[in-house]
């Protein structure tokens, strides 16, 4: 019998629509088994935090979720569609419903802030049509992160916190229903981290998104999460609300909250 702890669902979630559903996800690199049967459900409007040590498979899992990596086995359903079985066009279509905030922001450094935000708009014509003037949408996304004045600057002219906000604005510009955050506060000072966490909460209310947040920042998890999953050795070790997990007697769980 392993130590797996299943602190079950927060009340009422099971009646909501499932935005993401991962079942028995497995991924290995040679003999390194990164994901060993990971499971996840993200419900509409929910903030779900995944916590795990470095190398526990968090980033691999999130990359499998958007089709950047192919899992070895298991199913990944995004809004009811199994993305492992979609062709490229169908996958691109479903990606318009997912915003992805990369750990290192991944802003295109040869483009201005405006061009960075326009890029997904011009690529996903099926959602917004062939937009002649993108300025209103770009302005709206930049205003939602409080950086409308940076429109014509290059990413290299911005601070780390500002780059993170611009990356969030780019993730929001297609008005996605799901946002994936990969370590949103890593590399930021405590004050900027707080600002980003606050922004994430504000954005969720404004855009009514469901969020999957990968982090090892306990403060971020405490403020943002409605439910948490602890990922250990590529599988779900424990699940519950922040308060439930923080008060756990299990040594491995306690180690996350020290």
């Amino acid at each position: 019998m392993n130590q797996k702890q299943h602190i079950h669902e927060v009340e009422g979630l099971s009646t909501k629509t499932r935005m993401l559903e991962i079942k028995d996800l497995r991924k290995s690199f040679g003999n390194n088994h990164v994901l060993n049967g990971f499971n996840l459900e993200l419900f509409e409007g929910e903030n779900l935090v995944i916590m795990g040590k470095s190398g526990s498979g968090k980033s691999v899992m999130i990359k499998c979720l958007v089709g950047l990596m192919q899992p070895d086995s298991g199913s990944i359903r995004v809004m009811g569609k199994d993305i492992t079985k979609l062709n490229r066009v169908e996958l691109d279509d479903i990606r318009t419903e997912i915003g992805f905030l990369f750990q290192g922001n991944a802003l295109y450094d040869s483009m201005t802030v405006r061009e960075n935000l326009e890029f997904p708009l011009r690529r996903h014509k099926q959602k917004f049509g062939d937009i002649k003037d993108t300025t209103p949408l770009v302005t709206e996304a930049l205003e939602s992160v409080g950086l409308a004045h940076t429109m014509d600057l290059m990413p290299s002219e911005l601070s780390g916190g500002m780059q993170k906000r611009i990356a969030l604005a780019r993730a929001l510009i297609l008005k996605p229903r799901i946002i994936l955050y990969d370590e949103p506060t890593s590399g930021l000072d405590p004050i900027t981290s707080k600002e980003i966490i606050e922004l994430m909460r504000r954005v969720q209310k404004q855009y009514k998104t469901s969020s999957l947040i990968i982090t090892h920042d306990v403060d971020c998890a405490r403020v943002v999460s409605e439910r948490m999953i602890l990922l250990v050795d590529g599988t779900n070790y424990a699940e519950g609300t922040f308060a439930e997990l923080a008060s756990s007697k299990d040594e491995q769980v306690k180690a996350f909250f020290k």
Binding site: L68, T96, F102, L107, R123
Partner: protein
């Protein structure tokens, strides 16, 4: 012995991966959507970044070749053959090879570093998530741009080199512009110009392919970016000489028949 075996093995793996990469290019280049706007942007960027370098290189090739050859031809009383000799050397061999090498130094390293840094900072992943095929957008456009631009740059560089040669002839031998270029065009045949131009398309393709291959498959963080840029130049320069040998060999067989 084990080290040599390992070197050979990694060389053949590299060649295999490069061939697979080239195969993917040919699959993607003919499939929709076509990135015309990005292709034009890359053509402008590649051409614009290299034109001054190619011009200066061509001009110096013309000057040096004429200055070095003049004393020998004077000794045999064959200075009047100078335009013919210089033009054939430049058009057939020296122009395409030297200009392609400088182009490789400028462009292959730039592409390797640019794509490498995009890879390590997850910009390529971000592009994929944004509904763009990054291979098509970044790789196909760059390889096409180098393939199309190098022949134009070589023609430009050859013209400047001939002009450089004319300047020396004019200063030392009092030869007029019309006389010099009349002799040049009398000496040149299509069998000099066509194969030399065709091989520059292959040179351009090889430079773009190697630069993109090294950058797109860059690993190991920022150290990898430097390695990608460096090995892109080394590998593409080596490949140029191999291609040049094949081109000369094939041309030779073709014209002997």
């Amino acid at each position: 012995m084990q080290k040599t075996t390992h070197l050979f093995k990694s060389f053949f793996i590299e060649v295999g991966e490069l061939s697979y990469f080239a195969g993917r290019f040919f699959r993607e280049v003919f499939s929709r959507p076509f990135e015309f706007k990005e292709l034009l942007r890359q053509c402008y960027s590649v051409g614009n970044r290299s034109i001054l370098l190619v011009g200066v290189t061509g001009f110096i090739i013309g000057l040096v070749l004429t200055l070095q050859t003049r004393p020998t031809l004077e000794e045999f009383g064959a200075v009047s053959w100078m335009p013919s000799m210089v033009s054939i050397s430049i058009i057939r061999e020296i122009g395409p090879v030297i200009i392609a090498l400088t182009f490789a130094g400028r462009i292959a390293s730039g592409i390797g570093a640019e794509l490498g840094s995009m890879k390590v900072t997850e910009q390529i992943d971000a592009m994929e998530v944004s509904g763009t095929n990054p291979f098509k957008f970044l790789v196909v456009t760059r390889i096409l741009a180098t393939t199309l631009m190098l022949p134009i740059l070589v023609v430009f560089g050859d013209a400047i080199a001939l002009y450089g040669s004319y300047i020396i002839e004019n200063l030392k031998g009092d030869v007029s512009f019309v006389l010099y270029f009349n002799k040049v065009f009398n000496a040149l045949e299509f069998s000099d110009i066509i194969p030399a131009t065709i091989k520059t398309f292959f040179f351009g393709f090889a430079i773009g392919l190697v630069g993109c291959f090294k950058g797109y498959n860059c690993e190991k963080g920022t150290v990898g970016v430097g390695l990608a840029a460096n090995s892109a130049v080394v590998f593409s320069s080596m490949l140029l000489f191999v291609l040049d040998f094949i081109a000369v060999f094939v041309t030779d067989i073709f014209f002997e028949i």
